[in-house]
Amino acid sequence: MSTRPDGPLLAREEQQLVEALLAGNEEAVRTLYARYARPIFTLGLRLLGSAEAAEELTQDVFVAAWRKAARFDPSRGRLSTWLMTIAHNLAVDRLRRETGATRPQLVLVDEVPEVIGADEDEPMIERDAAIRALETLSDAEKGLLARAYFGGFTAREIAEADGTPLGTVKTRLRTALIKVRRANQDKERP
């Protein structure tokens, strides 16, 4: 199992990684871990609030990836986004199951420090791309996405809190996501 050590994987390399995973290749799990464990753990930490819960989530994500590898469809997105979607789904399910109405701590995107620590010298190309994509949003759009994605607030709750019509909140949420997607697609084009 060999992939380039840095930079996003090519679609062909992602396919090879998934194939190796399906073949029961333990090295594929290690490769997957090396590339994606950190953002998954980070998301878990932000959503679940403790290192212990984030570690459990990280383990659950890799087990789920192992089990569901046959369902990965490259025509529907990158491996990185597939894994992050699994992570977010599992975290939200866990929050709903365990804490009922309790919300994860809100993390506003524009509060995220831009400086990466000295021990964090590994390539963070996905993060750079994500930040660039978010720069295309207004502060209001960033805040809206953060409340929904990191805070778990429904459109209805946001509408009630802000005194904004529900339809408007839904439209703004969709518009903000489309802007992020387009900005990221532009980045992916040669």
């Binding site: 396919q15 998934v18 194939e19 399906l22 073949a23 029961g24 333990e26 799990v29 290690r30 871990y33 464990a37 950190r38 953002p39 753990f41 980070t42 984030a54 570690e55 383990q59 890799f62 087990v63 192992w66 089990r67 569901k68 590898a69 046959a70 369902r71 990965f72 469809d73 025509s75 529907r76 997105g77 990158r78 986004t81 992050m84 979607t85 977010h88 789904n89 939200v92 995220v112 420090p113 990466i116 964090e120 996905e126 993060r127 791309a129 994500a130 953060a146 929904a148 994605y149 778990g152 429904t154 459109a155 839904k170 949420l173 969709r174 996501l177 489309i178 992020v180 997607r181 990221n184």
Partner: protein
């Protein structure tokens, strides 16, 4: 739900704030509506990008090994002959590639899809075999399904009044260990029905256990893989998925003609 109603909910689906009831309705719609599925995919990818904007946290030491250990336990440990695994890997890889060519829609379908579109499924299966051959040739140059690899495809339809669906592939070969894969979807998560069992049977009524499904994902889906160390699968063309009470949930046969 109409496309208009579904699209109003796709952003909330992408950020996981959609209600359980709406999620079920939307996902049902997405199974047959390619346009809405494309938009759902785009919005879902956008949402996943958000996760990468966070300042990376330090991962606990040793987590790597703990993850590998956990996966190893789930996978049931090692010990399978490498040769057999490699062959199976090629076939599974081919399935994944076939899925990316379009057969995935069949495998991901739910009960109504299987039941309502039986005729179409037959045509799809023939086309899937053709595609399967194309992909298999890329994975193992010169390999012919008809000569060496007994790749048999099949679909399981729900029993009367039931839900769910499944796709099956058997690999039967004189030189490699035989192998079966069942990918199920849309099964009930009623705790009384779990665990599900998958079994293969032949015309003489002999039954082989192919696997057990103890938990389902959010789509009511699960996969069962099993290699048969000594038992050839020739003739075991009937595949049945039963619930904990022994009630037949899904049943069907794999195509016996290579």
């Amino acid at each position: 739900m109409t496309c208009l109603e579904v699209r109003e909910l796709l952003a909330e689906l992408a950020v996981d704030t959609i209600t359980t009831e709406d999620r079920k309705e939307v996902e049902r719609h997405l199974q047959w509506c390619a346009g809405c599925r494309k938009e759902a995919s785009d919005l879902g990818q956008a949402a996943a990008i958000l996760a990468y904007s966070l300042t990376p946290a330090s991962v606990p030491q040793g987590l790597n090994e703990r993850v590998v250990d956990r996966v190893r336990r789930v996978a049931g440990g090692s010990g399978t002959p490498r040769r057999a695994r490699t062959a199976a890997a090629a076939i599974v890889a081919a399935i994944v590639a076939v899925a990316s060519l379009g057969w995935g829609a069949v495998m991901a379908g739910r009960a109504d899809r299987f039941a309502d579109r039986a005729e179409q499924a037959e045509r799809d299966r023939a086309r899937a075999l053709e595609r399967f051959q194309v992909v298999l040739s890329q994975v193992i140059p010169g390999e012919e399904i008809s000569s060496n690899e007994g790749a048999r495809l099949g679909q399981l339809a729900p029993a009367a009044g039931g839900t769910g669906g499944a796709a099956v592939l058997q690999l039967v070969s004189p030189t490699m260990l035989d192998f079966v894969i069942v990918i199920a979807n849309g099964l009930s998560d009623d705790p009384d029905r779990l665990p599900y069992r998958v079994q293969l049977s032949n015309d003489a009524g002999q039954v082989l256990r192919a696997g057990r499904i103890a938990e389902l994902d959010s789509d009511g889906g699960a996969e069962v893989f099993r290699q048969f160390q000594t038992q050839p699968l020739t003739g075991y063309s009937t595949v049945t998925l039963l619930d904990a009470a022994g009630e037949v949930v899904l049943t069907g046969t794999v195509d016996q003609t290579p």
